[in-house]
Symmetry: C2
Subunit: 352 residues, 2 copies
Amino acid sequence: MAKRLDGRLEDLGEFGLIARLTRGLPSRADVVLPAGDDTALLDLSGGKDVLLAATCDAQVEGRHFMRGAATPEEIGWKALAVNLSDIAAMGAEPLWALVSLLLPPGESVAVLDGVYAGLRTLAARYGVAIVGGNIAGTSGPLTIDITLLGRVMRARALTRAAGHPGDTLLVTGTLGAAAAGVLLAVGQPMDGAARAEIAPEMAARARAAMAAPVPRVAEGRALAASGVVTAMLDVSDGFAADLGHLCAASGVGALVEEAELPIAPAAAAVAPLYGRTPLDLALYGGEDYELLLSTRPDGARAAVETVRGAGGTARVVGRLTSDAGRIEMEAPGGERKRLDPRGWDHLRGADT
Amino acid sequence: MAKRLDGRLEDLGEFGLIARLTRGLPSRADVVLPAGDDTALLDLSGGKDVLLAATCDAQVEGRHFMRGAATPEEIGWKALAVNLSDIAAMGAEPLWALVSLLLPPGESVAVLDGVYAGLRTLAARYGVAIVGGNIAGTSGPLTIDITLLGRVMRARALTRAAGHPGDTLLVTGTLGAAAAGVLLAVGQPMDGAARAEIAPEMAARARAAMAAPVPRVAEGRALAASGVVTAMLDVSDGFAADLGHLCAASGVGALVEEAELPIAPAAAAVAPLYGRTPLDLALYGGEDYELLLSTRPDGARAAVETVRGAGGTARVVGRLTSDAGRIEMEAPGGERKRLDPRGWDHLRGADT
């Protein structure tokens, strides 16, 4: 995927760089699923039914959070939440976290107390123990890098690679609220638009979705236990981009019904003031931390019921097709267009 | 341990901050050994004999490495080596690594290729698979944060907490060479001293010890299997500081015989040019990544033979005493003095 043999990272992009660096790395027989899915799956004891799920994700000040736009508690919460979302996407049970802090000079203890309070709250909610960590100084920004470990039965683990043509496509919750929160925090309103036009409740929802997302842990475990799911991942890069990941890994295409996309009310309220459409935020905004999944054609109803039983919502938004790599969206009038599986690329730094 | 309720991190220090942040964190019944030792020990399957060992450590440009003083390959090597050393100190077998990269703007692909080449070389040597990771941009320095996972039999795992008065104290390899490498890289020679006075072989050894330490993985596993070791940890903060950790965790004191300390020839060659004593580097320099261990009084010979059988060296340097927290060193003439368990503190930024 590398376009040049040497050069700047910006030319490669995140996924190109990962492909380049991980090419030909030595593996082990006990690596059931290597890097590339939401988590790795590892066999600790040799042929046992219980697998270890392992993932890591970092939150960097100025990239993933801004102190002005999120409280220290929210920063800590989100640092764990994004990892919980990856564990949830495998249908795994989160167990243990290792927390690595990089601290700028003169960082205040009060900020770190707040970060840990947020971590602690979310860890307690999902029964996660913080079992290790590291603290190092840096001349750069505050960074919270978390490795989260979990457990999943071998027969239940869900990957992004096992979708089939004809499978039904579903997504949990709603899409676009976190992107609306980012617009409110750093966007430039259109000429003449005033933030006061947005209902306070919608602004609060957008802000919360951005700063303190709720990972779909219970939903993910219930879906894994349901037996009807064929492929699953979480929506972090954006619905279109993550659907692209699912299709690429599964070797399928997809047809999305535009009218069925669960656009968040906060996205609908905020987008127009910034010259965006709500659909744009829902498709490309990212950081929704919902679950995107495919089921056997006869399993969609069971999946919706399963998610409801776990306290969430899910809806059918389309289906997988045999046209590998072709991702289309059908408008209510029947017109189809290609969906560009773009999204936030952490290196290029270009969102939509 | 926190000296103030709020304030700057520099006032708390690394260990004070860790104590403050981790106080009262929720735990789980399957956490066999929580944060505080070289690695956490975790029971994935419930009561099984095989435990998961998990640790993480970050290497930050400008703090833990400098581009001018280490090649990209060495930077990658060391980032994994420091984690392998922690796994080794538990007597565990390293298995899987998750690699989190923080990349400054404009970072070159060639540097990252080199970092990964170093990682790959050391991973292959110890049979470690890189199973996951994360790449994020940062406005700060290049940082490589690795979580390493391993496996150890419950009955064999070695902690720093089980030393007893009367146990024999041993250390593997030699001490002070890495600190000599740091002096060569960033130290100011004494007036009139010339680096040319140092034999090239000694300068090369010091540099290699600093930039590409060799973790004692085989020695650690063999010692765990020997059955004679009571407590073990790796020498990262410095011999005196890490002996302090062992004594604090075990509730014992220690008496070190100065004449028996295995001072690295490179430390002896370099120290005088910088106005230091070789002993100073060996006691306080840190980053030796040797193993410091105690054995049953009758087990020292077996431990030395065990390490030799694994390809390394070890020697008796003292014994544990019942005088909790009192760490003394006896000079060849019989004079005793207190050893200050100081060392590199990553937040205070003060080495010796």
